[in-house]
Assembly symmetry: C2
Homo-oligomer: 332 residues x 2
């Protein structure tokens, strides 16, 4: 296994120590293993938290900051955070206006966030949950009942985060998060497996001339394995799959992400974006904003995902609101 | 070869088409193969350009925008841009106050930028050149006489770009660029080779338990090949090598980048940053700003580089100035 690590068991803790050293706007609680905005909790502001297995950086810790998350609870690599961790994050950001949990639809995550929400409720904290299940590739999967939560998580965190920042209620923040999830679709293709520090070898074998179409962000099998296609064809497969599940009409507006899974260089992501953009243009869909880069990754997996959000006026306005996090940053 | 491409010869052109589709603040001239700020040339402002082989994205095209470069001239993958291309970029940003060329020290780049500078001079454009040669690993290399230009290129582009933005003269902009280069050192370690689209296979063999210490950003050999070490030891090798070549004293301030070479996930870069930060702390050096991520890459190479700039007041002030590019963005 070729990784810049010291010992597999120490990877998450040591990476969090690095996050703490790098970002003075974040408070990293190494004991509870949570990443919190230094200004949290803010009285009267809805707290927004997310979490899940590590290995998807910058998701989620990299999206903690003004205009996005108030805290993140990173589990071990590809492992759900435990309820106590999520509870600690919930309490750390509770300013009396309630807390929204953004949860990717994986069985362990759902269960542990639910348990934490109940514990927080016992302590008098109102918790609303937004379940993200945007991956249109498969209906059920290795670690999910229903669709997997992937790239749209970033969209939910950004847009719900902006509404929380401007004073939205816990119900409204959760509601826009759910609407964003509902209006989003994602589709991923892997060229290689990823290697977790604990396993030390690739999670599956993928022959030199094949790709995994509809892969999950932990390397879960997708729709099919097939011969490697040209990028233009891969982009078409992704866009068509998303639009089949989440139809759009001519004149609709979209926020689009072409996301690298960790081991794919930016030059390929831009090449893909050119094709995705052209395909949506042909479909009469106007891309109002885009992201091209590594945002929701799968360790060192070579691969990419496309996420398309059919955006309305409110979503676009909230997308454009200022954000200041390690992974996403722009001004007014 | 597993890449999201259509044909090896079309990669750079198609990726630039994607850049054009993604970034409305950039004008991509596909004929001349240059990326230009839409508001260039600006009368009275020093134009700042850079360029070099593609495959290092976001360098350079991703650093075109307010507060940084006015244009970039990307060559084919790992191939210098041609003089006509550089000349076109120079003319596109010439607002009458002169143009600064930021050139990484590779023989082909140096030659072609020099030729373009002479052609621009014939047309009455004052050109100053800043040669970047920050890589402390080796004195001469496969494609260089003298040290290679790597990570510090970003520091030069940011800091000189800020001075150009606030109205510095062509001499002053070049002078601060040269000072930044002189005060910077970089050191890289590769865990794997990268694969160019044209070659279709890794540029060199690196056994499963070895790393290339002091590698160049095209996979050029470094100081030595040795058994893979723990991340803490690799961070120490990098920091010690840089400080040996560019000594710093207790109380000095630094801007530090832990940079991924393309195939290394962010979780490992943060883990490394934690160790780099601790080592500098022990040396009494204060890190005033940092970057952790993929900024100066080598296609899909698994690896990382550390760059340390011994920063003075002016450099820190210019680093903190607003920047708005696809690859680097922050407010005032």
């Amino acid at each position: 296994m070729k990784k810049f690590i010291n010992a597999p068991d120490d990877v998450v803790r040591e990476a969090l120590a690095g996050v703490a050293a790098a970002h003075s706007g974040l408070r990293v609680d190494l004991e509870n293993q949570i990443v919190v905005r230094t200004d949290a909790p803010r009285s009267g502001k809805v707290g927004l938290i997310s979490g899940g297995g590590s290995g998807h950086e910058p998701l989620h810790g990299g999206f903690v900051g003004a205009g996005m998350l108030d805290a993140a609870a990173p589990g071990e690599v590809f492992t759900s955070p435990v309820p106590d961790q999520i509870l600690a994050a919930t309490k750390a950001v509770d300013g009396g206006a309630g807390v929204v949990h953004i949860v990717k639809n994986y069985t362990g995550d759902v269960m542990n966030f639910q348990m934490a929400a109940e514990l927080a409720g016992d302590d008098g904290v109102t918790v609303e949950t937004v379940l993200v299940d945007d991956d249109v590739a498969v209906e059920d999967s290795t670690w999910t009942a229903g669709r997997r939560g992937t790239g749209a998580t970033l969209f939910v965190e950004k847009i719900a985060g902006a509404l929380a920042e401007e004073g939205g209620s816990v119900q409204d923040v959760a509601a826009i998060g759910r609407r964003v999830n509902e209006a989003s679709g994602s589709f991923a293709v892997a060229l290689t497996a990823c290697t977790t520090p604990a396993a030390g070898k690739p999670g599956f074998d993928l022959p030199e001339d094949e790709m995994e179409v509809g892969v999950g962000i932990h390397g879960e099998p997708g729709r099919r394995r097939e011969k490697l296609q040209p990028a233009k064809q891969i982009a078409a497969t992704a866009v068509e799959s998303i639009l089949a599940a989440k139809p759009m009409e001519r004149g609709d507006r979209a926020i689009v992400m072409v996301n690298g899974l960790g081991g794919t260089p930016l030059i390929e992501l831009y090449l893909l974006y050119g094709h995705v953009s052209a395909l949506l243009d042909e479909a009469g869909v106007q891309i109002v904003h885009n992201l091209v880069g590594n945002y929701v990754t799968s360790l060192d997996m070579a691969g990419m995902s496309v996420t398309i959000l059919k955006a309305d006026d409110e979503m676009i306005r909230l997308w454009e609101a200022p954000v200041n996090t390690p992974g996403l940053r722009w001004g007014a």
